[in-house]
């Protein structure tokens, strides 16, 4: 089964490798450039000296050169890659066999169809996890200067770092696999799988945005200029931590009432979003296995 799976998915594996190389080369170049900008703005030294309190100007300058530029392109790519890759790999696994009639060949060899499918799924899912982990690792290295001074609990970093990216690929894969079984058509299953995945991508974006489950409201004492100048755009944020995402600041006497997402919400939110992606993907793949097993009746 290992050779059969490899041979049948060889074109997709080659494409995925190509996509990875392009992303990797681009993000590595971006990472080197980001490091040199980071150093030329002397942010590292400033952070070490003051913990970020005096580095507002330097950070703003760094963020300006990074965000307006090529990072945006990578973000857009990383937003669609999981869906396209997962749907491209998942749709033909059953869809093409059913569309071209080769299921009659595949399932009349000496390996029963359920075992055939489970073996294929195991190998393909393992390959997708390796792909996702590799992309995540490259991006995390590339963006580590950015991560020190910016918010990671929202896109772009959130969707490309941690476990969300890999789980997102698996979600699209499972949905397209099931669509292939139901539609008996590769292209149709790719489209259906991709757009079904978009729904859950939308859910994940809501969770990193308006429906953020880890939002905190805190009251901070302040005095003088610190009170009047405080805003959601302050660098560093009024909460003092560069990774915090401040939603709103209201003044109440000698206090600031701050509504924000702490930087520490990154991993809990990764597990919530990744868990949703993974649960949907595995449920769809499980449904495909079950339906295929029952298909003889």
């Amino acid at each position: 089964m290992i050779w059969v799976t490899w041979r049948q998915h060889r074109p997709q594996a080659t494409t995925a490798l190509g996509v990875f190389v392009v992303i990797a080369v681009y993000t590595l170049i971006l990472g080197v450039w980001m490091r040199s900008t980071f150093d030329s703005d002397s942010i590292g030294a400033c952070l070490a000296r003051s913990g970020g309190a005096d580095c507002g100007g330097a950070i703003a300058s760094f963020m300006h050169s990074v965000q307006g530029g090529p990072a945006v392109l990578v973000n857009l790519v990383l937003l669609v890659v999981p869906g396209i890759l997962g749907a491209t790999v998942g749709a033909p696994l059953l869809g093409q066999e059913l569309e071209r009639g080769t299921w009659q060949l595949a399932w009349s060899q000496t390996v029963p169809r359920t075992r055939w499918l489970v073996a294929k799924l195991g190998l393909v899912i393992a390959a997708l996890i390796v792909f996702g982990a590799a992309v995540t690792a490259v991006v995390a290295w590339s963006w580590s200067p950015l991560d020190q001074v910016s918010v990671r609990t929202q896109p772009p970093q959130f969707v490309a770092e941690g476990v969300a990216f890999t789980c997102s690929v698996l979600c699209a894969f499972g949905l397209a696999l099931l669509a292939g079984l139901l539609l008996r058509n590769t292209i149709g299953a790719m489209v259906a799988g991709y757009f079904a995945w978009e729904v859950f991508l939308g859910v994940s974006l809501l969770l990193t945005g308006p429906l953020q489950p880890f939002t905190i409201t805190k009251t901070i004492p302040c005095a003088g200029a610190a009170c009047t100048a405080a805003s959601t755009n302050s660098v560093p944020p009024v909460t003092g931590n560069l990774g915090d995402l401040v939603n709103s600041v209201t003044r109440a006497g000698g206090h600031l009432v701050v509504n924000y997402v702490p930087a520490s919400a990154f991993w809990p939110l990764q597990f919530v979003v990744g868990g949703i992606f993974l649960a949907v993907g595995l449920a769809a793949a499980g449904a495909a296995v079950w339906l295929l097993h029952r298909k003889t009746t």
Partner: protein, 311 residues
């Protein structure tokens, strides 16, 4: 039950039925086929031929009854069943992007009894290069590669669903000759579903006729032909006065041509005892099959076909 090995039927169906929703695709189908025979499976589109084949391989599970292969019940999702039967589906599906060598490696990966030497010798004899992609082969070559895969699986029962439908006349002859040779060489039992009745007449020693999901005719070709006769009688001779059972009757101005299902002895006795203007001649393969296909409600299952079913 002390059957000799040779007497265990290669294929046996026992009140086999398959329902799709409210429609029976196949119903109440019982027959036996001895090992080593070449069986023709005939029927119009939608008669249940492919359903019968899929039930035999275990691609479908029966709604009622069962199929047994060499005495072992055929089960869906069972490696043991799959090992006993090779299935060449209609339009001989292959992976178009694979080379012939890839297809064989696919076969080797998924079949413990894979005969790589046989596979390679066959395509070499057919001048099909191992490095060619399937999609660049002609229809006849693709059918031969698919047949080669089915043979190299080394299963004792080979099922062919409309194997020559897409082939030109020369490729048909080559293909069928190879099937017969393979059967003769290794004692393979072959079941061929086909519309081409003339083709089956040359090849088959056993016949199954399906119509509307029902088995109409089953038995050894020789027995079936010996058990039918074409009578020419005056038009006013009633069916009740004729020997055996009337399968089909064609009336002309003065005479009627009647196909009857009756033992040869009964026909001879009736001719000898009957009026002088009665005549009988042996029934031909194709007229018998066509008569049953035109009369969906009539069934004749030869004694040999179900002989042990009652035991």
């Amino acid at each position: 039950m002390t059957h000799e090995v040779g007497r265990v039927p290669a294929l046996r169906a026992d009140r086999l039925g398959k329902r799709y929703g409210n429609v029976w695709g196949l119903r109440d189908c019982s027959f036996e086929v001895p090992p080593g025979s070449i069986v023709g499976l005939v029927g119009p589109n939608g008669a249940g031929k492919t359903t019968l084949l899929a039930l035999t391989v275990g691609l479908l599970a029966p709604t009622e009854g069962q199929v047994a292969l060499f005495g072992e019940r055929s089960r869906a999702q069972s490696a043991a069943t799959l090992a006993r039967v090779s299935y060449l589906a209609q339009d001989h599906p292959l992976y178009r992007g694979f080379t012939v060598a890839d297809m064989f490696r696919f076969g080797r990966s998924l079949n413990p009894n894979w005969d790589a030497a046989l596979a390679e010798a066959r395509v070499a004899a057919l001048d099909i290069p191992l490095k060619r992609k399937v999609k660049s082969l002609s229809g006849g070559q693709q059918a031969q590669v698919a047949l080669t895969m089915a043979l190299a699986k080394r299963a004792p029962l080979l099922l062919l669903d409309e194997p020559v439908a897409s082939l030109d006349p020369l490729a048909r002859l080559d293909f069928m000759r190879d099937v017969v040779a393979a059967s003769a060489e290794s004692g393979l039992t072959v079941l061929i579903a086909s519309h081409v009745i003339a083709e089956l007449e040359r090849l088959c020693d056993w016949l199954l006729v399906l119509n509307g999901g029902r088995l109409q005719l089953a038995g050894a070709v020789d027995d079936l032909l010996a058990g039918h006769a074409v009578l020419t009688v005056p038009r006013d001779a009633g069916n009740g006065s004729l020997p055996g059972r009337v399968i089909e009757r064609t009336d002309s101005d003065r005479h009627s041509t009647v196909l009857v299902s009756a033992p040869a002895g009964a026909v001879a006795a009736a001719i000898a005892a009957g009026p002088p203007d009665w005549a009988a001649e042996p029934a031909g393969f194709e007229p018998v099959v066509l008569a049953y296909l035109r009369r969906p409600r009539v069934a004749t299952v030869a004694a040999g076909a179900t002989g042990t079913a009652a035991a």
